[in-house]
Structure formats: C-alpha cells, structure tokens
Symmetry: C2
Subunit: 280 residues, 2 copies
C-alpha cells in the first residue's frame, strides 16, 4: 500500500499512532494531521506522527487519498458529511470510532458519488491521551473491526481492510449493529463498571487499594466527554449489557446471602476459566 | 531484626515472597516452609524462599520465633490454635489473610499464655499463584494492615510491625472490623465485579476484548476457592459494598435511560478524578 496523502483528523493517541505506524511501514508518502489546537499539532509533528498540521478539516481531507477520522464519535458523521463534498472521486474515508451503528446510519446514502465511507474500529487504545502516548506498534496484531453497509463499494471495503492490515492489524468484517452489541459488553460495560466502582471510593480508603482495585478501575481514567459520547451513541446495547450483568450480580448476591459457598465457588470458577482463556 | 527461625505456613506467592524478602534483607537466620505437597516445598526451596520444607504445621511452628500463616483465610484460626499449644513462650504468630474479623474473633482469649497472635494483611499480591511467582520486593513500599485486639500484648504488636517493616513494607494499625469493611470495598467488591463481568462473556466475543476488558477482569483469574473463603468470611461487608455499587449503577442506568448526558459526564468525570488520584 502506498497512499499519496493520508489525512488523520484528530491526532491524539489513536490518530498519532496511525501516523507513526503509517510512516514506519511506508504506507503513505505524506501524512496530514488535523486538530483544533496548533500546539497539539506541533506535538504530533515533533513526535513524527504527521508531516503537516492543519486546522481546517475539509481542506485537509480534500487533499487526501485516504482520510481517517479519529475524533469523538458524536462528531464523526457530521465531519465526514461536511468534508466529503469537495473530495476527489475515489477518496476513501474511514474512522476509528468506538461505536458504529449511529455513524453508519447517519451517513447511509448521504455522500457524493465516488466518495466512500467505511466504518472502522481498532480495538486498541488506553486510558491515556494525546500524541505523546502514540505508538507505532499500537495496532500490531490487534483487531480492527470494519463495518461496511449493504451499499458499500466492495473496492472501498477492500482498501479499508488493506489499510489497517498495512498498519499491522488483523481485520474482521462485522455488521455495525452487531459490533455495537458486542462492544457494549466487551468495552462499554467494563468502562461503566470501572467508573461506578472508582466513583464510590471514599478518599480515606485510597491508601487501602492495591493492584486489584487499580486494575479493575484503570479504564475509568479515560476522558469523560469521549465516553459520554460513546455511551450516548450505544445506549440501548449498553443498557442490555448492564441487565445481563445485573442478573449475574444477583446470582452472586443470592449465593452470599444464603451462605451457598458451592454456588459462589462455581460462579468464581466459571469466571476464572473465561479470564484465563483471554490471557494476560 | 534478626529472627533465629521464621516459619512460613503456606509457601505460595505471598509466603514465598516473605521468605525471599526475609532472606534478602537478613531478617531471619533460618526459614522453614510448610506445605501440603513435597513438590511445592521443593519448588519453594529451589527458588530460595525457604531453607527447609516440612509437611507438619505444628512441628514447624514449634521451632519458630515468628510464624506467618499464609494459608486460605478459613483455615488460619484453626491452624493457629492447633499450633499454639507447644510453642515456646514468646513465640509470635501472625498471618497474611485478606480478612481479619473472623480470625481475630475466633482466636480471642483462646491461645496459651505467652503466645501472641497479631493479625496482618499485606496489601500485595496478584492473580498468580505459587512460589515461582514469589518476589523478594513484593512488599517494598506496600501497606501491611496490622489488626491487634484490645488484649494484644503491646510488645507482640511492636514485633509484628517491625517484622513487616523489615521486609520493606509500610504498616498501619486498624481495628479488624474496620479493615474488613474497608477491604470489602477496595478488594473484595472489585473481585466480585471482575468475576461477574468475566462470567458473562460468551466465547464468540473473546476476540472482541481489548485491554479495557482485560484490565477490568484481571483479578477474576485468582483462585476461586481462596476467594470463596474470603467472601464467606466477609459476607456482610461485601453485601454492604455491593449495595453501594448498586446505587451507583442505578445512577448510571437512570442517566442512560433518560439521555441525561450531563449527569453521565458528571458520573464519569467524578470517577476519573478519583482514579487519576490513585496513580497507575
């Protein structure tokens, strides 16, 4: 893959890592970054994630052969629609948003002929933010879920898959709704739980936490506005995932209340088996 | 501190780390380990955690100046009572159990004159097990909660504090019940949540988990029988902690159901602030 110009809208941890990975792997000849603040674009440029920083999304996207939107999920569809007008035919637009259904629905049938948007979600990241935490190997061996619609041009889909593979990722095609239901359980619910748990820790108990509390709540350090957007866009699936968790918590509560250590041990052993299978 | 003989009952991750730390810091001249299987005692000896392995708890404790019980919480009080008869006057018995109230109550007023038991809980450990994961620096800078009773000999308390400090730990004296209520929130509830979350992950979604799910559920890989014992001994405090969490989850659910993104952002931002204060 040899893209003449790759534009990255939002050069934080994910966008910056895309830039670093693309440069290191020779995926793009020129990498443009778009941000709202000159200072963060300068940081992204100084770490080598982009060649040039621009404040104007549309101008930067119009120069791109491929553009990746790494902005908060509630802004992606609007930015894509705005930028699509004026793109050269054949421009491929994709994203790195944690939700896919709302974005795909918003864009369906609303882009100019010859301009494709194919949704993407790299399952990589951390609670950290900004280009200073970008990592050229962030996508190495990680999964990127790609969510075409029924009307997606097969060639655009193929280019999207090739782009992420070129950054070192594995790819998997999923329906956007199926993605959102799955990620509600594997990502959004864990964040909600971590935040609920961190939120009830009184200051006087800070010193009585150890690695267990810290691991379990680590993702709660993520940016709240980013996650508010994700929860709002995937509300129904997150509520459904929360109901499944409630049912499981009720089983734990019942076993505790009745002193049923056999059931308690079974619940814990089932969880251990599943967690062991995931690896570290 | 220069103990002539330190006996460690249960030479797993914690017991093995006590042995390694005691050896490295010259805390004890001879270190005895007690286990139920010769093979694990041989492993503990080969990694340098103990000088000698014994299968007989009482015989090993009777030779000790200080003995530390690192066995599952539901076995500690019984083992201490059994071993205390036959100890030399002045022998100090302590433990590394994650619960303290039930153990302290069980032992109160039931030990021979001159034999002291002072409860301890090092806030260190991991989901891993066995002497192969033992670490001489496990207690370095970590907190050990020490829980004397109203009748604890002040000298025995002082020796217990000195012992853990000699292994590199910080120490804090707490009432056993206060310890259990605090740890229900900072350790036992996180384990319950991690297990509930891991337990509802269907196999087909394993590949759609990333670091968020893995961090949040890491402790669920801990040994189920160990944790069944902890939950059973601290049942009321764990149920109370679970009610606090339920209240918080209800706030998240309400914010999601009503589309109240302001409240959602506030809940997430409060959690972030607390989690940020804990450090990595």
């Amino acid at each position: 893959m040899n893209v003449h110009t790759l534009t990255i809208v939002g050069v934080g941890l994910i966008g910056g890592s895309i830039g670093l990975a693309a440069r290191q792997r020779g995926v793009a000849r020129r990498i443009l970054g778009v941000g709202r603040q000159k200072s963060s674009l300068e940081r992204a440029q100084s770490v080598g994630a982009i060649d040039e920083g621009l404040l104007d999304v549309n101008a930067a996207v119009h120069r791109a052969e491929i553009a990746v939107f790494c902005t908060p999920v509630e802004r992606i569809a609007e930015q894509v629609r705005s930028a699509a007008t004026g793109c050269s035919p054949g421009t491929l637009l994709t994203d790195a948003g944690s939700t896919k259904g709302a974005i795909m629905r918003d864009l369906e049938g609303r882009l100019p002929a010859g301009i494709a948007f194919v949704g993407s979600h790299p399952l990589a990241g951390s609670e950290k933010r900004g280009p200073d935490h970008a990592d050229a190997d962030l996508f190495e061996g990680r999964l990127v879920v790609v969510t075409p619609s029924l009307t997606t041009d097969p060639l655009a889909l193929e280019r999207t898959l090739a782009f992420w593979r070129a950054l070192g990722a594995r790819v998997r095609i999923m329906d956007a709704g199926e993605h959102d239901r799955a990620l509600a359980l594997t990502s959004h619910l864990p964040h909600l739980l971590a935040s609920a748990l961190a939120g009830i820790l009184p200051p006087e108990l800070h010193d009585l936490t150890a690695t267990g509390f810290r691991d379990t709540t680590r993702v709660a350090a993520g940016d709240s506005s980013i996650w508010t957007g994700i929860f709002a866009q995937n509300r129904d699936a997150v509520l459904a995932a929360l109901r499944r968790l409630d049912d499981r918590l009720a089983q734990f509560r019942c076993a505790l209340e009745t002193g049923d250590t056999t059931s308690l041990d079974t619940l814990l052993a089932q969880a251990k088996e599943i967690r062991d299978a995931l690896g570290s």
